[in-house]
Symmetry: C2
Subunit: 302 residues, 2 copies
């Protein structure tokens, strides 16, 4: 059951009240693929970087058994770069720099060996690029999960609505769900968004957890209350990586199994925020992951 | 296992995007006692109203088997009155009017028949009045639960800290927990607040649910995602009423049973916000309550 991850592989420079980083590996697809690799050993990556992207970071992805045949390297161009600074409470941030670089002309080429993928995770990208990936796959995957953000709702809503028609699971945050639906109640927002195409909707609420809607059912997973959140960058993508990685591993797309996938995503996101960038996702043991997941059981079981 | 509820019985006038009310019955103790009455038939009330308080509302409390011997009626004075207007998203409100009236000189007299209570719920009141109740009880109750608010942290912090030394469970919201502890992380805030006296801490997060801390354990209950929130007034008190009513009924103050009490509190709060004021709490059937509680199981079980 191969999992194809498409999205950005980037440089991030992050400042939080706890410190700041130079350019480190970031981007939706990095977080998603790394996280999924803990559950599934057939993660294929389609992304683009510039010649400035460190070979050591690519080796790190390979060491996690991520197939990088689909990672395009534009030797004479620069990697997508994002820099942001978090405010004291970590719930809001300012974007300091966005340099699209290679991402501005990203043409998502699917290697032949990636065809026939069973699970597709479309990380946050321009919706027309996400659609292009779907059109280039000769066989419709068993499950298509997609992430997006308010930026695309503002500047490419028509493209976004078109892409939504062809996916199965949409993952967005609460404010984006409200914007996309025009409904304040998340229950009403979910019902409306599911008429746009997705059969399932995940609404991420950051430190307040995540909701899953579908098949007239609703499931809620809290975020694990933590002593300290060090850096929230990539938490949503890590969540998506845990969700899709677990589904690909178990190859079961029932609502009941999606609940478990949500818990796996939440557990992985709780690791992510404890260190800068992808740092916490590099060397996790199965035992650590199991322990974190059992904390979720304790937290909600009554 | 008698439950003593002490707090305000008041007039509220509420305006929300969905409508507005004239003066209707409100006040922490009204919500708490009404809600607790669904679980427990020995709810005793200590509160004060003026001669303007409708006899019909007192009869309504009695019809719920609430003992009103401790409800003082100051014939020549006026009932505490609060008026507020909610903003569009229901997460914030402006207080339009606060007339303390009889509450400004409230002397919480405990009828003899209320002595030997097993469970005490101190609704939001001046902390020195809450302490007075504790001092006037000849026997220390098995469990003392207390609610308070940021207002008292601002103007009567010393009194509040003194009262906290003598209670078992404190119920406050997330912003209040942060203010009282000086810690942003709710995990750190909880640890610190429990050094002030309470052995258990409930942190209410409104539409984002509630956390219970104690015995080095942590439990989380979501709020039920609703189609529409009609009026949030009294939701926190309703929660406290469900929590204490369930504990008094089951007479089990273990952490495990407190989890169930939290779920009962959350379920009752989800009814409360569906109508104005106490309206949704007047005529609930056991079947409706059971159904709502089973929705919580479905929502979090994986």
């Amino acid at each position: 059951m191969s999992l194809l991850v498409v999205g950005s592989v980037a440089f991030d420079a992050i400042e939080t009240p706890f410190g700041k980083t130079d350019k480190i590996i970031g981007g939706a697809a990095s977080f998603i693929a790394l996280t999924a690799s803990y559950f599934h050993k057939k993660v294929n990556l389609v992304a683009v970087v510039g010649g400035d992207f460190p070979k050591a970071d690519i080796r790190m992805l390979e060491q996690h058994k991520i197939d990088v045949e689909g990672l395009q390297i534009k030797e004479n161009e620069k990697t997508f770069f994002w820099s942001g600074k978090y405010h004291d409470n970590m719930n809001s941030r300012d974007t300091l720099i966005t340099e699209l670089n290679v991402l501005g002309t990203f043409d998502p080429i699917i290697p032949d060996s990636y065809q026939n993928c069973d699970y597709l995770m479309l990380g946050n990208l321009a919706p027309n690029v996400q659609s292009m990936v779907l059109h280039r796959l000769k066989k419709r995957p068993k499950l298509v999960v997609m992430d997006t953000m308010n930026f695309w709702m503002n500047i490419a809503l028509d493209d976004l609505m078109e892409t939504l028609k062809n996916i199965d699971v949409l993952s967005i945050n609460d404010e984006e769900a409200r914007q996309l639906s025009g409904e304040y109640s998340l229950v009403k927002a979910a019902r409306k968004i599911m008429t746009f195409g997705p059969k399932f909707l995940i609404i991420k609420k950051g430190e307040h957890g995540a909701l899953l809607f579908g098949e007239d059912k609703m499931f809620f997973a809290p975020a694990l209350p933590l002593e300290s959140v060090f850096d929230p960058t990539g938490a949503g993508d890590t969540f998506a990586g845990g969700f899709t990685g677990y589904l690909a591993k178990t190859d079961d797309i029932s609502f009941e199994n999606m609940k478990k996938a949500i818990i796996h995503g939440s557990a992985m996101a709780s690791f992510c925020v404890e260190k800068f960038g992808t740092e916490a996702l590099i060397n996790l043991s199965d035992a650590q992951i199991e322990e974190r997941i059992s904390k979720f059981s304790e937290l909600v079981q009554f």
